[in-house]
Amino acid sequence: MPDCTPFEMISYTGSRVLQDNKIVFVGTGLPIIAAMHAQLTHAPGLGLIFEAGALSPILDIGMPLSVGDTRACRKACFMKGLCAVFELTQRGHADYAFIGGAQIDPYGNVNSTFEGDSYRKPGTRFPGSGGAGAMAANCEKTIIIMALEKRRFVEKLDFLTNVGFGDGSPDFREKAGVMGSGPYRVITHEALFGFDESTKRMLLLEVAPGKTPEQIQEKVCFKVLVSPGLKKMKEPTKEDLRLLREVCDPQGYFLQRKIK
């Protein structure tokens, strides 16, 4: 395996998760890189939605640095505004949501609002839900990218910003009035998680080469379920890394950042 950075591993794994001929609603950064890589390799028919208003652009003048950026609309098929693309999503046209966040709980709920004890007087205020809340609610499947750290994989969120399976009860999402089927994958550089169908709790599907489920559990506050068919995470080939480094993010805006 060629050396790859944690964010390269995440992007590559994100790419693997995306099927061809589907539509993915992407946020800035790694989701865009993952989607670009997928388009360049196994999913040439993958369509993108950017929340400022573009459907299925061709990213031929470089990676967008903002979901509202001119590059994100480049040669789109359809371009209106936020209402149009989120309504496409409510109507069932977005197969995948690709979101990040500050904390995640065992049920795939995500916090991106604040850390601390009080909404009114937050310890650390984050940017807020942004598009993620609507994406997690109404794209058909939610993919969450998160650095694998104990402070992020928590038993209970400080604030539930973006809905997953809630408390895990089978009718939680229906009672919430949301349409998508919910969390699908959680991608970290050392582990790929899915969700257990009956308990709706996070389920370890793959670990990075050289890592054990126990090592993953150490970085997670809640009890991690392990899939009976646990696999090794596939690593990017040299060509994959070339695409990520030279085509997707040549400036290294996202791929060259460090995990704390």
């Binding site: 839900s129 942004g130 209970k156 919430a176 949301v178």
Partner: protein, 359 residues
């Protein structure tokens, strides 16, 4: 009221019950004109095609009053009404409510003005979905305001805020959405869960958001205020129709004949526009599709000054930014004149040249 109907979200997170009850105990309140008041203001307007051009200084003097709700157009760095925000900061305004989906530089500029010159400009509350810089980083001044409980925040999703403006643009009180339910926003924001009378299923309603004044930057407009927007429309058409008054800057003024040749291209009709200013680079250092990309270095420079303040309390670099780039400028063009020509040339080039129709 809040708990007549709800999802099962209670106690999923660590959010404290007393905090929820505190918020839910408050009766619902409009943070700007009510739907009825907003309609009345519109009904009483003259509807004629008149030349709406005015100086930005006069537009802000005329329309920006203490205590109003300001709806900010654009999205993050895209077509953000920076020129108008500079002028508001120059003139000052108190007890503002801000409403937007996602914003970066405009929200931070107003927050910084409040921190440095609280008697001149201050923000009482913000209804929003997101406040940050995306790739450039978090918003230091939001973090400062929030940690010090200097503003009241009301959180929605980007669709939620967009749908709230859309409901107002449609003249409604509320609109159903398929998000917020099952999140703590359901417990805290001013939306309400009901049972659909058609299916008995839980359905979240968000209240319309009618700003007193919308701030909008567009690609082109005729003198009457018929606006074209190319690239992402963001939520600009909805905000413009929602607000009871709009100040619009346009990259360029085009002829009414051109507007009437392609009426399908008008995204905001003249009836919504009260003050119009031709202001090239009016979204700078943000991006305006077909004209220029964003100036990351300039944004970083301002953000660095903000971040230094947040970390150390040192206001010197931040103050320097405001003095040099806003208060010592009479107009936005004075500010642009201070920008290095190569920087502007570069962001023009980075736009990529997807064509716009302005003939």
């Amino acid at each position: 009221m809040k708990y007549k109907t709800s999802s099962k979200v209670r106690n999923v997170s660590r959010l404290k019950g007393e905090e929820i009850r505190k918020v839910a105990g408050q009766p619902f309140e409009w943070w700007g004109p009510s739907p009825k008041e907003a309609r009345k203001i519109t009904v009483n307007k003259q509807k004629a095609l008149v030349d709406k051009r005015i100086s930005l200084k006069d537009a802000v003097k005329k329309h920006i009053k203490d205590g109003i709700n300001i709806g900010i157009g654009g999205f993050v760095n895209t077509r953000v009404p920076v020129a108008i925000v500079h002028e508001i900061i120059r003139q000052g305004a108190k007890d503002l409510t801000l409403s937007f989906q996602s914003n970066s530089i405009c929200a931070e500029l107003l927050a910084g003005a409040m921190i440095l010159y609280p008697d001149h400009l201050n923000i009482k509350r913000v209804e929003l979905a997101w406040w940050g810089y995306e790739v450039i980083g978090i918003a230091p001044l939001l973090r400062h305001l929030a940690a010090n409980v200097m503003v009241q925040l009301d959180d929605y999703t980007n669709y939620g805020m967009s749908a709230r403006f859309k409901a107002a643009a449609m003249g409604l009180e509320f609109i159903p959405v398929r998000d917020h339910g099952g999140s703590d926003m359901e417990q805290l924001n001013r939306g309400i869960m009901i049972k659909s009378p058609f299916s008995d299923k839980n359905t979240y309603l968000v209240p319309a958001c009618y700003p007193d004044v919308g701030l909008i930057h567009v690609t082109a407009a005729d003198i009457y205020g018929n606006c074209r927007i190319f690239g992402p429309l963001c939520t600009c058409p909805e905000i413009a129709m929602a607000a009871t008054c709009n100040i619009v800057t346009a990259e360029q003024i085009i002829s009414n004949e051109s507007i009437r040749t392609y009426p399908n291209l008008t995204e905001i009709p003249y009836v919504a526009v009260d003050a119009l200013i031709e202001q090239p680079f009016g979204a700078y250092p943000g991006v305006s599709y077909g004209h220029y990309w964003f100036d990351m270095e300039h944004i970083q420079m301002f953000r660095n000054a903000s971040e230094e303040f947040r970390r150390s309390g040192n206001t010197v670099p931040l103050k320097k930014y405001y003095e040099e780039h806003i208060f010592s400028c009479k107009t936005f063009n004075d500010f642009l004149d201070k920008m290095p020509e190569p920087a502007l040339r570069k962001i023009k080039k980075f736009d990529g040249g997807q064509p716009i129709i302005i003939g």
